[in-house]
């Protein structure tokens, strides 16, 4: 078993809006081991992106981490002072975002933006930093590295920009890469290339990856371990094969059923009835109760907790109280 790299315990991140308090990340816990790829999957608005941003303390202005601890390499990230957090970012933890086209500063060249973390964290000279940047670009399969470093972001395609983002995230040999929906904004073919790239990086450098996505296909390809989130809470988690073979939570089951399979013909695509609840007016109940086929009375009055069901799989559902069905 690999060493534990990142441990998130009871993370709580709230947003303070003019309509009320939104509990975007509501008592979320999970762990990532060295060299492991953990996928957080869920629909839009379930809190998966905010979870990732909370790790790096990059949440938008009206949000705040209100509780929990995040242990990384022996340190509680939430208790670090600003300088230490900054030292971690881009250095031991790298991050890539969803929209490569807007994630790079339009008025600086690719090269100028790539050498920044290298100069800051690895303390290389400008010349050496440029050399390293070009090495990274070539390693990621982009030709003409010398030309690329002098181009501006708007001169590159989305796929190339995302590779550059990965290069930047990799530049200081991080232990963990957080990828927030890295392929959502890209074409399917480019998506495949980027995912291949990430897999190779993991193999070569033994980097852990925290991959945020709403696409179960991506999960199937990339994940070692899966965390399913709904309305700010973790509803199920487990090793990828077991989760896909034996989903426990009704929501996970619904997600898997909803994904169309090539070769299968159906008159009607399966959908999970209902809508995600309004995160401002959450009641003390299972948040999924309104949409659940198996909803019981207890589901509407009390929140289920995550229980271990079987070999590493956990689910938060009243169907499995006491670990039994």
């Amino acid at each position: 078993m690999n060493e534990m790299l990142l441990q998130v315990n009871h993370l709580q991140t709230n947003f303070y809006t003019e309509n009320g308090v939104v509990k975007a990340v509501n008592d979320v816990s999970f762990a990532i081991r060295e060299g492991e790829t953990v996928c957080i999957v869920g629909e839009s608005g379930c809190g998966k992106s905010i979870t990732a941003l909370s790790l790096m303390q990059l949440i938008p202005e009206n949000g705040k981490v209100e509780g929990g601890e995040i242990t990384f390499a022996g340190k509680n990230l939430l208790k670090l002072n600003k300088k230490d957090v900054r030292r971690l970012r881009g250095n031991e933890i790298g991050m890539i975002f969803q929209e490569p086209m807007t994630s790079l500063n339009p008025v600086f060249t690719i090269g100028e933006q790539m050498i920044e973390p290298i100069q800051e964290h690895l303390l290389l000279s400008k010349k050496d930093a440029y050399k390293k940047a070009m090495e990274l670009i070539t390693m990621l399969g982009i030709p003409n590295a010398e030309k690329i470093v002098n181009l501006y972001p708007h001169e590159l395609s989305g796929g190339m920009l995302q590779r550059i983002m990965i290069a930047i995230a990799l530049s200081c040999n991080p232990k963990l890469i957080i990828a927030d929906e890295p392929t959502t904004a890209l074409d399917v073919t480019i998506q495949a290339q980027i995912l291949d790239l990430l897999r190779e990086i993991k193999k070569e450098f033994n980097t852990s990856i925290l991959l945020i996505t709403h696409d179960l296909g991506v999960v199937a390809e990339m994940a070692d371990y899966v965390v399913v989130m709904y309305a700010g809470k973790v509803v199920e988690e487990g090793p990828v094969l077991e989760l896909f073979k034996n989903p426990q939570h009704p929501y996970t089951k619904g997600l898997l059923k909803a994904k169309p399979v090539i070769g299968e013909r159906k008159e009607r695509l399966y959908t999970i009835a209902g809508q995600v609840p309004n995160l401002v007016e959450l009641q003390e109940a299972c948040y999924f109760a309104d949409r659940c086929e198996h909803a019981m009375d207890i589901c509407r009055i009390k929140q289920p907790v995550l229980n271990e069901i079987s070999k590493g799989q956990k689910a938060a559902c009243w169907l499995y109280e006491d670990g039994e069905k």
């Binding site: 009607r268 009835a273 209902g274 809508q275 309104d290 086929e293």
Partner: protein
Amino acid sequence: METHSPIVKKQKTMVVVKSPSLWKQTYRRLKKNKLAIISLFFLLFMFLLSFIGPHFSPYILDRTNVADMNQPPSAAHWLGTDNYGRDVLTRLMMAGQISLTIGIAAMFLSVIIGSLLGAISGFYRGAVDMIIMRIADILMSIPGLPLLLILAAILSEWKVPAEYRLYIIMIMLSFVGWPGLARLVRGQILSLKEQPFMQATEVLGLSDRRKILHHLIPNTVPLLLVVATLNVAGSILSESALSFLGLGVVPPTPSWGNMMDAANNFMDFRKRPWLWIPPGTAIFLTVVSINLLGDGLRDALDPKMRR
């Protein structure tokens, strides 16, 4: 089908969230902006003071009383008297009527001319658009005050009788104000035209007039509201500048601007600040309130700005 019954069952328990209309939301947000509300109340106060205030004053505006000349503020005359013995406070209130009326009237004229021309320009494009926008550009390329001076010169040549002078000033101010508005409205129309609801009006075969007046212009109202409010502030400042220079409202008609002309006289400036500080303060406070209100409106109408 296994999915049918749950859907039908669930519909009864689904909560329908009704989102309030644009105006209600705007009003709610505006209420939270304390500065804007204070400004609104202050403006109401100024209006009442100017239009109703004089009725409570024991002094008749134009009656000169040489014996009371140049008195500093006292119990009888809260803001003192001017060099004709007239009560300054009463004059201030009467002047308020003039300045506020001119400001608002100029704004209306600018808005009407500007939005119509801007809408026509943006809607029909082509030669009409080019001509109107060229004229607007040219007018905008001549700086404000010099342009007003030229217009004032032209109008003084035509020896306009005193009663009509006020209307002429309103027209002058709107002449300078409409190009900016036309440009704004045109821009809005251009982007609105591409929206699906305009395609719908096309499919329905509505007339151009209906499309412009009933569909396009009403959608520009939020923007227009903000711009119009700020326009009043600008008009009041311009009118007072002109009157101060003697090219706007001329005595004996009082305006806040020409009341400050007293400051041009050396003695009055040094020794009788009650003559020129009140009108200046009145202009300042009124304009600040209008600006704060306009800004509050802008924030209330577009919360995404979060400025």
